[in-house]
């Protein structure tokens, strides 16, 4: 004897994961366009790494391999790491990052649903701490670069470290001899050289550079809006996180507009949109209560700005998300919703 639940045509977990991956497409296209073919190669490599790592552990754990792989969660983790990596990072580095994410951060905790930390961000942070130079070696975007490596060049760079006699550093140098990075990286360096916020923004390189990153971020936001419309993610985390990023950075900018970048720069640079819609919203590791998600999103945004403004790393989505992952059980504990009948509103005043 078993109880019955009417079945309905609803989205399964694997469909959810697939739709989230599809929602990445606008961002992926923009990133490939502005940053180069390396992004696409990384996406393919990382998905393959992720699925192979998952299959390996499932085999060791004697769990159904095909059924589990088809939940698409491993692939999504691979895609997210790939999008966070610089475009021509050596193939073995992404391998280390993805395998660490899947094997250590996900499967060793018990697989999908049991991991307290966002696996993609664990993998990314491992790489960032271990290989800080390579991990911040972004190519200048299309609008500013002297030359973007072709598809074949990117392949060669990833697998051999050089293409046509040029190495990664050659590609990073602009026509006027500058070495380019991401806008956040660039501003970090500029601030350390004593430059003012207004000088940085007015700099021709910076403004061209940020335009590309703005387009990438807006493309990810487009995908995020699709997720919201399809009700695949809840609105609380992205909205509060973006608000928090904007208001806290604007507040700092208001205090001293020469030491801190204005809010809009923070919103459209780095992994702000990718983080807000695709990373912080990972339901497994985020807060699960309605109020909790608001607090979670707001605090992720808060730490993003704090670390970006005062920390040693240019971007901070990964660190903030991991920090808040630790806080999730506490947040959930204190944000339980009011259960039916617990407010005593049914009673008159004198009965209470």
């Amino acid at each position: 004897m078993s109880s019955s639940i009417l079945s309905q045509s609803k989205r399964s977990t694997s469909q959810v994961m697939r739709l989230v991956s599809l929602a990445l497409i606008p961002g992926i296209i923009a990133e490939i366009y502005f940053v180069g073919w390396g992004v696409l190669i990384n996406l393919v490599l990382c998905s393959v790494y992720a699925i192979s790592a998952e299959a390996l552990v499932l085999k060791l754990r004697k769990r159904p391999i095909k059924a589990t792989i088809s939940d698409n969660s491993a692939m999504l983790t691979g895609l997210l790491i790939a999008l966070a990596l610089p475009p021509v990072i050596p193939w073995w580095m992404s391998l280390v990052g993805v395998w660490f994410a899947i094997i250590i951060a996900k499967q060793l905790y018990g697989g999908l649903g049991f991991n307290p930390f966002n696996p993609a961000m664990v993998g990314y942070v491992l790489l960032l701490i271990s290989f800080p130079v390579e991990m911040t070696a972004w190519l200048p975007n299309r609008e500013i670069a002297t030359q973007l490596p072709s598809f074949i060049d990117s392949l060669q760079l990833i697998f051999t470290g050089s293409a046509g006699g040029l190495n990664l550093q050659d590609y990073r140098i602009l026509a006027d001899g500058y070495t380019m990075a991401t806008p956040l990286d660039e501003s970090k360096t500029a601030f350390s050289q004593g430059l003012m916020s207004s000088e940085i923004i007015q700099d021709a390189h910076f403004s061209t550079n940020i335009h590309g990153w703005m387009m990438i971020n807006l493309s990810f936001m487009l995908g995020g809006i699709f997720l919201l419309a399809k009700r695949l993610i809840h609105w609380q985390i992205p909205v509060t996180m973006l608000f928090s990023i904007y208001f806290i950075s604007s507040f700092l900018n208001l205090i001293d507009d020469q030491l801190f970048l204005p809010g809009w720069v923070h919103l459209v640079s780095g992994a702000s949109m990718l983080g807000a819609f695709f990373i912080a919203t990972d339901p497994v590791t985020a807060s699960t209560t309605r109020k909790g998600r608001i607090i979670y999103g707001a605090l992720v945004g808060f730490f993003v700005i704090i670390i970006r403004s005062f920390g040693g790393y240019p971007d901070a989505i990964a660190f903030s998300v991991l920090l808040l992952n630790i806080a999730v059980p506490t947040i959930d504990h204190y944000t339980k919703p009011k259960v039916y009948g617990s407010t005593n509103q049914g009673l008159d005043k004198n009965e209470r």
């Binding site: 004897m1 078993s2 109880s3 019955s4 639940i5 009417l6 079945s7 309905q8 609803k10 989205r11 399964s12 977990t13 694997s14 469909q15 959810v16 939940d71 969660s73 697989g111 999908l112 649903g113 049991f114 809840h234 339901p283 497994v284 985020a286 699960t288 209560t289 309605r290 959930d332 339980k336 919703p337 009011k338 259960v339 039916y340 009948g341 617990s342 407010t343 005593n344 509103q345 049914g346 009673l347 009965e351």
Partner: protein, 542 residues
């Protein structure tokens, strides 16, 4: 669309959560009510709450009359009275499955029906308006009336309890539940369409018993025809009372949007009154009593016609049934009989659902009999319903990704994803802290779960474990208390004995010493004499 009138009003309140499953109600609610021919074999529960009271009145081979009590129960029993649905012969005492989720067989009695003559069992109370509520209540009890919404709680106790235990908060409103929010089920809908006047009489009787001054019918807006018919009946009734210038309680129909589980008692109360029943309390504590509309009809039958509750309206539906409809079916009718008499196609039939597809149990056992709890039987081809494994240790579903769909669907504002986490990891204390026992087991969470986790099964399992642990704890607490009391008693006895021994020893010692210092008692004799003299002197010179 339903228009508001002075009788019909649209609900101003809403409930949290809820889902909109496909309804499948049109299958069965367009045919008139029919009567299923009596089965040769009837299987009825034979369980008493008290072995002493429930001594067997009948033996094998006895003839029983329609409406005869098969097994005595205590007056306050929570077990419904077991009455014979026809003239029959007792053919077997044994154990049978009754379609409960726990598959433990329960004591049963098997009857072989002789004929379907149904003479009046109780004297009809036609002048019920001038009859004391206690008398009507006794009739409700006699007729074996139980809640027909699915919980089968004895109605007399529900009505009585409110009067006695909660005398300080009188019942103001009688809410009649005609929501029927589960898919497929249409028995209350069809009952209202065909017996609106009788239901109204039943409602007035119940209001008379409880002393309620308001009657509120709750309907979902998908039952337009039933609402219209009932509203017309109310209009006529009001007119009739006005013509006779007799006072009448206020009768209203509240219509709510169709949403599952609006028909849950607590949800219905919130939809109709905007109030919530406080945790761990009954509706009576806020002056309400809720009865299912079919129960109200059987109260009418018991009081006005003197009929016991031995049959109920059952929706027979599903895509294996050629003519889905509602049938009057005697309690104890095995499903096999329904299949043969309605010539239901058995070739594609894999599983049947007893009750609604959201909460009802599923079975393949066609010997299971109908009862007061079975308001619907769905004969479907397999695909319509997810088979939910009863064995929660076997995790055949996908993992929970905490997507919170269940939280959105939960009508009790719980966190089903957290309850699941604590239930599967056996953290009972945490599960209780997250209000596990406020779960009404409606299944809305399981319905929306993308990983198809049988969440309600986990909660039932957790509840059972906690209840069992509590019973164990209580027992050990009692044992501990007894042991401590015994120890204390022994210590006290020992102390008293020691005290006594000390006292006698001291007295003996004193006596011995007295004897030593004053061997012949001269000293005390002189003292006594002196005292006497002193007293005399005092008396002489006041």
């Amino acid at each position: 669309m339903i228009k508001e009138t002075d009788i019909i009003e649209l609900s101003k309140y809403s409930i949290k959560g809820g889902i909109h499953p496909q309804e499948f109600k049109l299958l069965s609610n367009r045919s008139p009510i029919k009567e299923l021919p009596l089965s040769k074999k009837l299987i009825l529960p034979f369980q008493s709450d008290n072995e002493l009271v429930g001594a067997k009145k009948i033996i094998l081979g006895d003839s029983v009359q329609y409406g005869q009590e098969l097994l005595a129960t205590r007056p306050s029993s929570l077990v419904p009275r077991s009455l014979s649905p026809c003239n029959a012969e007792v053919s077997e005492f044994g154990f049978s499955q009754f379609g409960h989720l726990s598959t433990i067989p329960e004591p049963s009695i098997t009857l072989l029906s002789k004929d379907d003559d149904r003479p009046t069992v109780f004297t009809p109370i036609t002048d019920w308006k001038n009859t004391k509520p206690e008398v009507l209540l006794e009739r409700v009890k006699q007729a074996g009336i139980v809640g027909l919404g699915g919980a089968v709680f004895p109605t007399a106790i529900k009505l009585m309890k409110h009067k006695k235990t909660f005398s300080d908060s009188p019942i103001e409103t009688l809410i009649i539940n005609a929501m029927e929010c589960e898919p497929y089920i249409t028995c209350d809908d069809c009952l209202t369409k065909e017996y609106a006047d009788e239901i109204l009489q039943g409602a007035l009787m119940t209001a008379h018993i409880t002393g309620a001054s308001n009657i509120l019918f709750g309907f979902e807006d998908n039952k337009v025809e039933a609402i219209t018919i009932l509203a017309d009946s109310i209009k006529n009734l009001v007119q009739e009372y006005e013509d006779l210038s007799t006072p009448l309680v206020s009768i209203k129909i509240t219509v709510t949007p169709t949403k599952y589980p609006s028909g849950g008692e607590k949800q219905l109360i919130e939809l109709l009154t905007g109030k919530q029943v406080p945790q761990k309390q009954y509706p009576a504590s806020i002056g309400l009593v809720v009865q299912n509309i079919a129960t109200i009809f059987s109260i009418y039958q018991a009081v006005y016609l003197g009929t016991p509750l031995t049959h109920r309206l059952v929706t027979i539906t599903g895509d294996c049934v050629e003519q889905p409809a509602n049938y009057w079916i005697a309690f104890g009718t095995p499903i096999n009989h329904i299949i043969t008499s309605l010539s239901i196609d058995k070739t594609n039939l894999k599983k049947i659902t007893l009750g609604g597809p959201m909460m009802g149990p599923q079975t393949t056992d066609f010997n299971i009999p109908t009862s007061a709890a079975v308001n619907c039987i769905i004969f479907n081809r397999e695909s319509k319903v997810i088979a939910q494994s009863n064995d929660v240790a076997f995790q055949s579903h996908q993992p929970c990704i905490r997507c919170s769909e269940c939280e959105t669907a939960c009508p009790a504002s719980l966190l089903p994803q957290q309850l699941y986490w604590f239930s599967q990891s056996e953290q009972w204390l945490e599960a209780e802290r997250y209000s596990l026992f406020d779960c009404i087991e409606c299944g809305a969470c399981s319905f929306v779960c993308p990983s198809e986790i049988p969440l309600v099964e986990y909660y039932r399992f957790a509840k059972l474990q906690i209840k069992q642990a509590n019973i164990k704890q209580q027992k050990s607490d009692i044992a501990k208390l007894r042991f401590e009391n015994r120890e204390r008693r022994f210590a006290r006895i020992k102390l008293e004995r020691d005290e006594k021994r000390k006292k006698t020893a001291a007295a003996r010692k004193q006596a011995a010493e007295d004897k030593k210092s004053d061997p012949e008692g001269k000293k005390s004799a002189i003292e006594a004499a002196l005292a006497r003299v002193k007293k005399k002197e005092d008396n002489a010179n006041p």
